[in-house]
């Protein structure tokens, strides 16, 4: 499959995402935020960074970009969409994923390797995380509903939830499962050179659901 990686002013992980998509799929290209046309890609990555400076709230402005309108349409049609870090925040602000991301507990920026558990198969993944606003939050009744419908995709393993996310949630999906967002960075874990290739499993997971 061909992946498209959105690029906003302030994105900073789009190059690694592009590389990860090339390793995972059959090709990848960048899609500029002003483009309404996704250029025929099969799946989309909304990458990490600080889209539009994150001045109002993380992801709040990016959701109104022409490219995000196209992503919303593609997601409704069942295309795989993966939001990483700031991309996760953008997808939550856009209403494509439930919940929101708050400042980390103790207001500290966290940057380290974390271990995640895939809620479906119990697979344990080692992936880097780096964020200041990654504390997943949703009201209790929404959390119960998400868990009931199997929309919690990844949880932090014991002692790895350093941002204070509710119920150790690291990533969630939409009801259909084709839109997935998570705070840790799978695109930084696709080459043995950097210590882990577990990130590819995340790309696989969203691609497979949508297939």
């Amino acid at each position: 499959m061909i992946w498209g990686v959105l690029q906003f002013p302030g994105s900073c992980d789009e190059r690694d995402a592009l590389h990860a998509c090339e390793v995972h799929g059959d090709g990848a290209r960048l899609v500029w935020h002003e483009s309404r046309d996704l250029d025929g890609v099969d799946g989309i990555v909304v990458p990490g960074g600080f889209s539009y400076g994150d001045y109002l709230r993380a992801g709040a402005i990016a959701r109104f970009s022409p490219a995000m309108e196209a992503v919303a349409e593609a997601a409704a049609g069942g295309a795989p969409v993966l939001g990483i870090c700031n991309g996760f925040q953008v997808l939550c602000e856009a209403g494509l994923l439930p919940g929101a991301l708050l400042r980390n507990v103790e207001l500290r920026f966290r940057c380290h390797q974390v271990e995640l558990i895939d809620e479906r198969g119990g697979e344990r993944l080692s992936i880097p995380a780096k964020h200041g606003e990654g504390r997943y939050y949703a009201p209790e009744e929404m959390l119960d509903e998400l868990e009931g419908k199997g929309q919690v995709a990844y949880r932090y393993a014991e002692d790895h939830n350093s941002n204070g996310s509710v119920r150790d949630i690291a990533g969630v999906t939409n009801e259909r499962g084709n839109v997935l967002g998570l705070m840790p960075h799978p695109e930084h874990a696709v080459d043995p050179l950097t210590g882990s290739t577990d990130g590819l499993a995340v790309f696989d997971r969203v691609a497979r659901v949508a297939a």
Partner: protein
């Protein structure tokens, strides 16, 4: 912030809250609520209050 204040000699200050204030001029103040709901606030995690001057 609350923890930093005593270190600077400001004792007895609690419930410190940092918020955001947006100032704007609007031709149609009736639509400000909609503006808050759509953009300025994420009502899942934020409250808002409109003051007209």
């Amino acid at each position: 912030m609350e923890r930093a204040l005593p270190a600077l000699g400001f004792e007895g200050i609690e419930h410190v809250h940092v918020g955001r204030m947006v100032e704007l001029e609007a031709e149609d103040p009736e639509r400000l609520g909609e503006l808050c709901e759509k953009l300025l606030a994420n009502t899942l995690i934020e409250d808002y209050e409109i003051q007209t001057l």
